[in-house]
Amino acid sequence: MRDIAIRVNNVGKKFSRSLKYVMSYGVRDISKNIFGINAATHLLRKDEFWAVDDVSFELKKGEALGIIGQNGSGKTTILKMLDGIFMPDKGKIMIEGKAGALIQIGAGFHPMLTGRENIYVNGAVLGMTKKEIDRKFDSIVEFADIGDFLDTPVKYYSSGMFVRLGFSVAIHCEPDILLVDEVLAVGDVNFRKKCAKKMRELLKSDVTIVFVTHDLGVLRHICEKAICLRSGKIVHHGDIDGAINEYMTLPAETAHGQQGLKEIKKVSVLDGENNEVKTLSTGEKCSLEISIETKEEVMSPVIGLAIYDNTGTMAIGTNTRKSGFKIEKIKGSCAVKVEFPYLNLIPGNYKVITQLYDDSMGTIDRLEDAAFFQVYSKNYSTGYIFPEHSWSIR
């Protein structure tokens, strides 16, 4: 049984939507604090909402937790509370050990100062002493891999170099708990690999990691547990696959364009016998049927389709024009069908996005999360794709 590193009990954080109220509540809260009155933070006032609501979880030392969810679902707010930047308005957070956060890399960097100077400033802000920084200096520079730019003002750095330096300084603070926001996305593939490797090393040395990301591939690589947030509430807590599925099937917040006039109604997943299904198997004949309804006439429309796997990578992307299929015009309701005689998707969970374009490829309507389906297979073993194939021997 390992020790608890983070304990979060029924934590909530509220924000106000308008600047006017932010200012007046700010003045009132601060004056209350001055006179030693505890502000009733657990109540919502006019124009306030819970950005994070009733969130509880526990993490043991050396565990990694992923936090996923759409933009604005409260992921960063949770990280900021774990780091002590924000105080919770409800509940209680207990942190064992020193937390180090990468909310935004290079937040303390001054553009006019050189990399060398910024290492010292940033290190001090993150709580390192000069001696510590002196000792780790070479290692910081080596990990950041900024070469000759060490004595150049950081405003002349590329965004990748900037992130590398920031990450390197933060990692060298040797935190017991590392809080990482979606910050590594700027780095190139090699650097991201290096970071992922470093994070796994840290996990082995009993560092606890809380990781916010949209890159589900990296998430799967590092974390074994995850929570999925929606509007500040936990909608899934536990295994990573469950959280990712929950995330993939969250209803999209984007609304239809020109609602009701011209729109994609639904997408059905059909098997070889044209029955609507939720699961398909590799190598099966199948099709997707897109139902469209338009009140006005659309001349030479183009219909596009994309299938994403649960790491967020597009597995298949196609449209009627690229496939050489011309539609003269559509009006009223119609169904456009795309057939896959041999499904070569590997087993996993997939989602479908469809889009309706006009003649000049301007979007008329887009349906996120149009359909979800699962692929299983009896004969798939490993690999990226599963094309139709046969074996022989001579």
Binding site: F86, P88, I95
Partner: protein, 276 residues
């Protein structure tokens, strides 16, 4: 392993235990204050060819203006204990310790807003670092003062060694006001604009560039800045404290403002990142 707990109204609940926590926080972050001070300093003068010479040029020109006005008879300043330029320069140097300290201190949190919103560190270091900047500029100006001593062949009396000590109250007042104003400026940006106006007004309302001969003036009498600026100057110029009572009362006032503002800042600082 030390465990940290975050909950609503964390610091307000501490009561009197807050004082040791405040001292501990500031003591622990002394190195950070130094780093941020260096950062501000480097950043300020790095892209200027004249660099830190600016810290000398600006007061020099300000003094020049007053000497000019005095010579032209626009400003009729009565006899001062030493040559007027010397008198004005010492006064202005002490005054600017206060004025630049308060102005930059008030803005210190807002100018580092992105850092506050993304990194957890004791926010008071930003205010203290702004103050340190003002102290450093003050020390550069002292070079100018010494040059003026030579030019006017003035030898300060031995009591002048007490000069740094006599500056402590005005430093406390500056830091105290900076804490309070920086906090309010985090929520209401009006404060920064108001401060620069009020500070300019106060400079003329306080006997900085002219001697306080009309001691009956009610505004001079109740203005702590009068004593806090003039006592250090009197020590150099006359070798004595002219109004001991006024100086002591003002010093107590300054200490009170400092302690109260620091405490307020410490309690309310958790609200800063979400409002800034």
């Amino acid at each position: 392993m030390n465990s940290i707990i975050y909950e609503p109204n964390k610091y307000a609940k501490l009561g009197f235990k807050i004082w040791p926590a405040m001292f501990k926080d500031i003591y622990r972050s002394r190195e950070l204050v130094w780093r941020l001070f260096l950062r501000n300093w480097l950043a300020k003068y790095k892209q200027a060819v004249l660099g830190c010479l600016w810290a000398l040029i600006i007061p020099f020109i300000a003094i020049g203006t007053f000497i000019f006005l005095n010579r032209a008879g626009v400003l009729n300043i009565s006899e001062t204990a030493v040559a007027y330029p010397l008198f004005a320069l010492i006064g202005l140097t002490v005054w600017q310790l206060f004025s630049t300290g308060v102005t930059s201190g008030t803005q210190s949190l807002v100018t580092s807003g992105s850092m506050i919103a993304k990194i957890n560190f004791p926010h008071e270091v930003l205010v203290v670092a702004a103050m340190a900047q003002s102290i450093f500029e003050f020390m550069i100006k002292l070079i100018l003062v010494v040059i003026f001593f030579a030019v006017y062949r003035f030898c300060p009396p031995w009591q002048a060694v007490l000069f740094p000590l006599a500056l402590v109250p005005i430093l406390l007042l500056t830091l105290g006001l900076s804490f309070l104003l920086a906090l309010i400026n985090g929520v209401l940006r009006d404060v920064a604009n108001m401060v620069s106006l009020v500070v300019t007004f106060l400079m003329f309302a306080t006997p900085v560039l002219y001697p306080a001969k009309s001691s009956g003036n009610i505004f001079f009498k109740w203005n702590p800045l009068n004593y806090l600026v003039n006592t250090p100057r009197d020590l150099i110029v006359q070798g004595r404290i002219v109004d001991m009572e006024g100086f002591i009362l003002s010093s107590v006032f300054a200490l009170g403002v400092f302690l109260l503002s620091w405490r307020i800042f410490y309690i309310a600082k958790t609200k800063i990142p979400e409002r800034i």
